[in-house]
Amino acid sequence: MKIPFKYTIKNFTSRKLTTFITIFGVALVVFVFAAVLMMAYGIQKTLKATGLPDNVLITRKAANGEISSIIEGEVQDVIRTLSNIAVNKNGKQIISKEPVVIINLEKISGGMSNVTVRGVSDVIFDLRPQVKIIEGKMFNFGLRELIVGSAVTSRFQGAKIGDVVKFAGDNWQIVGVFDSDGSGFDSEMWGDSQALLNAFNRGSAVSSLTLKLDDVNNFEAFKKNFDFDRRLQQFEAKIEQKYFEEQSELMANFIRILGIFITIIFSFGATIGAMITMYAAVANRTVEVGVLRALGFKRRSILVVFLIESLVIAISGGIVGLFLASFLQFFNISTLNFGSFAELSFGFSLSPTIVISSLLFAVLMGILGGFLPSVRAARLNIVNALRAA
């Protein structure tokens, strides 16, 4: 026979403070656990959104990021001869040759940080249709003008429309703000590819080349031709989306490993907290357990009732923790991305996987913390239990 669930609930009200503290402890652990996963997922999501599945990004094989990659002019010409490259309605190949550099700018919150400056070709809106000018206008090709990502405008000084950024002895006027649906491009500044190359005295050597495939399924065919060409041996073609996702790996893994390590240690603390509470609950109710057993409840029912009590504590803690963590989604933070050496703005992002794993984590703590005390309660001898003072 089962002991009514009401019994469990009643027990909580008789030991409010202890129950509350234990729930709060579990909630804190789940909060940290979820927050760390949300941060790592946020970085990944941002960078994954940066690339498109039908774009191909080409860099030098040995390069860790775009800034340390160099593609010379002759190589660019070879790449242009490959098949499977899409053309726009004017019959122009959709290829953007992109010099990528980083510059120092003063942050509004104080201190300097790095911003990526990317030169793009005139087919850019065919190549990356997710990018929209939300304020001002597009820069003029050939002029020393820039458009800035929305995250740059809001975080850096002197990055508003009408401001002038100075580099390489030239003044660059900011004429527009663009937005790309929360992707990594929002943390960049864009200008004319050729104008930037001239300013930096780079000749025709760009950092990367991004092109659109004529069909999203043709990557293998493109790559086969690419790898077959001996002149392109030192270079590597990747799907743009995959490239940027890999750029987030180092950072996301670092956060995840450190975070999981910490939460596992934390969870020991919380499990022990739950265990202490449950042991005390058992000890305080020895007589009660004796009475229940005398009334005819089975050992199994006693075990289950204490286990349920511990699970209710853990799950309530888990829900409270997740509830608190879900507010983190309103925050945007930025940090130096190890992959690109530049500041990347991203948000905490909650996914169903994170919700489920956090709750499972809480349940696990409840079971681990509640099992031993429940066994003790179930094994109490009726006579001794009734006699306990």
């Binding site: 940290v32 941060m39 860790n64 340390s68 050597a205």
Partner: protein, 386 residues
């Protein structure tokens, strides 16, 4: 004396609960120590910087080079003792997951400006003579099992091509904070290859390291250097080595802030675990406390009893945690890739922090039960049923 005995007996009354609490506290102390160590490791570059060194780099950002010609101009500024320079070479050694710094340096002046890299004179002399030789840090030599005379092959990215270097010296760190995970080779060798390639990238310097005579002149000398190249095509930005390193740390401030927040959450969790134990113990002993009061123990005695037990348990947990921290942090340091954190060690300040938080927690956890024990009247206490 009797109080001490009571405290001791009380703490051992529920052995399992006490042990669990101690284990809980020690785990949290370990987590706290580990997290603080990661934060200090992040700051190690700042700690290692010398007061008499300035870094001059391109004003746009550190990825843009400066002309070699600046060296002589900087050297002539009054207050400047020595000038050396370096280029960030990077490249891929073995695979892309080997992070240690690979730099092209001016062989002749480098070790004068960085006296914390200890190199035997013999090794230094052979390094000077051989154009494709390199010097590596002790940690790197250990990690990759490199010996003098070994070959290092690096695939260049910023400087394309295959590069081969012969290890001719292994430097030792002078201080605990010194980075022993760097690799240096001849800037001249790099420059010769750039001239051969004919891409107009010769005679370029990544940044200058300026040793000054008087550290109090940092601001003054920095301004003079930057004024020299104002309105040129390559303007400079000069700052103290410390400020330069801090710039890197500040860029990752979001992560550091979150780690700091988490380390305080840990203290909160310790407090909850211990507080819970103390509240439960005091609750169970409500009747006993009433008996104590009846036979004449004062409020002071009650405070001593509860506070003492709380401190006793927290001290045991703290001591166990600190004791275990050392091997665990060492183990963690051995697992993360070398070069990611050049220095990874438990700092004395972390120990002080941990010990004082444990004491604070011991006191805080006893406040609530003490207040309750004092407030409960003898009659209510005697009547209490747990």
């Amino acid at each position: 004396m009797r109080i001490l005995k009571l405290i001791f007996k009380n703490a051992l009354r529920h052995k399992l609960r006490t042990i669990l609490t101690i284990v809980g506290i020690s785990i949290a102390v370990i987590a706290f120590g580990l997290l603080r160590t990661v934060v200090t490791a992040w700051n190690s570059g700042v700690e290692a910087s010398a007061a008499n060194r300035l870094i001059t780099r391109q004003a746009i950002s550190f990825i843009f080079p400066l002309p070699l010609a600046y060296r002589d101009q900087i050297a002539q500024i009054p207050g400047v003792d020595a000038v050396t320079y370096a280029n960030w070479f990077q490249g891929v050694y073995i695979d892309k997951n080997q992070f240690f710094a690979r730099l092209a340096v001016d062989a002749e002046t480098m070790f004068d400006v960085y006296p914390e890299f200890l190199l035997s004179d013999e090794e230094y002399q052979t390094f000077l003579k051989e154009r494709n030789s390199c010097i590596i840090g002790q940690s790197i030599a250990e990690q990759y099992n490199l010996k003098i005379g070994d070959l290092m092959t690096i695939e260049g990215d910023i400087y394309p091509g295959d590069w081969q270097f012969v290890v001719r010296g292994i430097y030792k760190p002078r201080d605990k904070t010194t980075d022993a995970t760097q690799m240096f080779f001849h800037w001249n060798y790099l420059n010769e290859r750039m001239i051969e390639m004919g891409v107009g990238r010769d005679n370029e310097v990544g940044w200058y390291i300026v040793k000054i005579k008087d550290p109090s002149q940092t601001g003054n000398v920095s301004e003079q250097i930057d004024a020299l190249f104002k309105n040129s095509r390559a303007e400079t930005k000069t700052e103290s080595e410390r400020a330069f390193q801090q710039g890197f740390v500040a860029a990752s401030s979001a992560i550091i802030t979150s780690m700091n927040v988490i380390s305080f959450v840990i203290i909160g969790i310790i407090m909850l675990v211990l507080g819970n134990t103390m509240i439960m113990s005091a609750r169970e002993r409500t009747r006993e406390y009433a008996v104590f009061k009846t036979i004449g123990f004062s409020g002071g005695h009650m405070i001593g009893l509860i506070l003492g037990e709380s401190l006793f348990i927290s001290a045991l947990g703290g001591a166990l945690g600190l004791f275990l921290s050392f091997p665990i942090i060492e183990g963690f340091g051995a697992v993360i890739p070398r070069g990611f954190f050049p220095v990874f060690e438990l700092e004395p300040i972390t120990l002080v922090f941990a010990v004082s938080s444990v004491i604070l927690i011991g006191v805080a956890a006893s406040l609530f039960p003490i207040q309750k024990a004092l407030r409960t009247s003898i009659v209510d206490g005697l009547r209490f049923i747990g």
